[in-house]
């Protein structure tokens, strides 16, 4: 049980448990905040997988951007009078049942399939430079298209969100 494995299980727990809270907690605000916890867990997993830049981006975009947006949305959409978010009365038995079923199958699939993993132990490489090179050479088109997508999303969202 090297520290690496133990760290993996810690981070796994850190992602799964808040995710469960996000899914099942009646109060939408706590769900959003638990989402923050799971995002951090995912960042940790990325670190474990040696993708430090991706981990930082995860934190930057998800926690700093998307979660803020979600919180904004939650606040703006809730009639703050109520302050209470106890609104979840929907029964969750069936979805969870199906989910578990699906999960069981996925796990069976994963465990049975033989992944020809080429375990390379040479620690975390400096990823950002490599990523940059790849982005500019091999993945140039998606890189440019990403900007187009962002533009579209920006304009669309602004038009929709315009307050008048």
């Amino acid at each position: 049980m090297t520290s690496y494995d133990s760290l993996f299980y810690v981070f796994a727990a850190v992602t799964i448990i808040p995710a469960i809270v996000t899914v099942f907690h009646p109060n939408i605000l706590y769900a959003a905040l638990s989402l923050f916890g799971s995002f951090f867990g995912v960042a940790g997993i990325y670190v474990l997988l040696g993708a430090d830049f991706i981990a930082a981006t995860q934190v930057l975009i998800y926690v700093g951007g998307i979660l803020v947006l979600i919180l904004f949305a939650v606040m703006l959409s809730k009639n703050i009078y109520g302050m209470t978010f106890q609104d979840e009365k929907k029964k969750k038995i069936l979805p969870t049942l199906f989910g578990i079923l699906l999960l069981g199958f996925l796990i069976k699939l994963i465990t049975t399939v033989h992944w020809n993993t080429t375990l390379s132990e040479e620690g975390p490489l400096p990823t950002t430079a490599a990523l940059g090179n790849l982005l500019l050479t091999e993945y140039l088109l998606p890189f440019e298209l990403a900007s187009v997508l962002l533009l579209a999303a920006l304009i669309g969202a602004i038009i929709l969100a315009r307050s008048k």
Binding site: L29, Y30, L33, F36, D52, F53, A56, T57, V59, L60, V63, G64, G65, L67, V68, L71, F72, M75, I80, M83, P126, T128, A129
Partner: protein
């Protein structure tokens, strides 16, 4: 270019008892050292200094009661806050009420991990250093929103959201200026950046665009820390003290402490990115022996950042407060376009002069 814990481990490798300690032990020691030896006292002193300067600017005498010239005032304040009753409003959301200061503290404190005080004196020598810093500071908004929301106070919520909006929108210019620096330096590693700035190849003089983006960075960072001209959220007249109206006692102390921590981070980052970190223009400190080099470098670094801090304080008590829409307009219609321009400018400059800054060019003239 190892980090502080590794450096310490090498130092104490030979010692009999400490030799077997793992590296992360040293990192814990370093963290505690940083927090308690540097962060908290510095905050207190900063408060004292700020109130002194404020008084001086407003032609009045600052705190001079506790200890000679009021030097121990900050200890008195700290004790007061420690002993003051801690009130949580009734219908406030208890859990969130506690969580928001934690978030803000984490984001404020963890930023110190990547600041290179001296050659090997950097808590975590990440190779994505500056990006990590950007990510962590972006967490502050979360804490602000929660703080405003949890205290269930109309004004504090409004203050919180406005603070969040401000921080959020000023983060773009900050990120863009950092991007320009990265463009020039080519690495994200803070220690590396400082090393590249050499004795006088400071980034600020690298090219005019970079100089502008340095200014933009400094002002935007100010706004991000809700300091002086941009401290609308806690504007006393309008929203009492913004999101931390309901906080009192120690929780309020934390808010206060983090504010000054962020101020120092801004100055530290500014010095590392633009002012050449621990480099003295004409003296090459790296040649000195270890025992002397580290303190000197730390001293150089600290003087630069404290100078910046003083200017910050100076700005706070001289400039009038911005209205909210002016604030937003300033950010989005001035800083963002200019920072984009500087980014493109530096890129163009880099392409033009193959990455050499003005100092190198001038030097090149003489050397050849």
């Amino acid at each position: 270019m190892t980090s502080l814990p590794e450096f310490l481990k090498e130092l104490f490798e030979s010692w009999p008892l400490l030799g077997i300690l793992p590296v992360w032990f040293y990192s814990i020691v370093a963290i505690f050292g940083l927090l308690f030896l540097f962060l908290f006292p510095f905050a207190g002193v900063a408060v004292y200094v700020e109130r002194k300067i404020a008084g001086d600017i407003q032609a009045r005498i600052g705190p001079n009661v506790v200890g000679p010239y009021g030097i121990l005032q900050w200890i008195a304040d700290a004790l007061k806050l420690l002993l003051k009753e801690d009130i949580i409003p009734t219908n406030a959301d208890k859990k969130l009420f506690i969580l928001s200061p934690m978030l803000i503290f984490i984001s404020g404190a963890c930023a110190y991990a990547v600041i290179p005080f001296a050659d090997n004196v950097i808590l975590a020598n990440l190779n994505i250093g500056i990006f990590y810093l950007l990510a962590i500071t972006s967490m502050v908004t979360l804490g602000l929103i929660l703080g405003g929301w949890a205290s269930n106070n109309k004004w504090s919520l409004l203050g919180g959201l406005r603070a969040a909006a401000q921080v959020v929108s000023y983060e773009i210019p900050v990120a863009l200026s950092i991007l320009t620096v990265v463009l020039v330096t080519g690495t994200l590693d803070m220690a590396q950046i400082v090393k590249m700035q050499g004795p006088f190849y400071w980034n600020i003089f690298h090219n005019p665009f970079l100089f502008i983006s340095a200014c933009i960075y400094y002002i935007a960072a100010l706004a991000e820390a809700n300091r002086t001209p941009f401290d609308i959220p806690e504007a006393d007249s309008e929203l009492v003290s913004g999101y931390n109206t309901e906080y009192s006692g120690m929780r309020f102390a934390i808010f206060f402490l983090i504010e000054y921590a962020e101020c120092f981070i801004i100055c530290a980052v500014a010095t590392t990115l633009f002012l050449g970190g621990w480099h003295l223009p004409f003296f090459d400190l790296s040649s000195l022996t270890l025992g002397l080099r580290i303190p000197l470098q730390i001293m150089v670094f600290m003087t630069k950042s404290i100078l910046l801090l003083l200017t910050m304080m100076w700005i706070r008590w001289t400039l009038p407060r911005y209205r909210v829409d002016q604030l937003m307009k300033l950010c989005w219609e001035v800083f963002v376009p200019f920072s984009f321009a500087c980014l493109i400018g530096t890129a163009f400059w880099m392409v033009l002069f193959k990455g050499k800054g003005i100092p190198e060019l001038i030097l090149g003239l003489f050397v050849s």
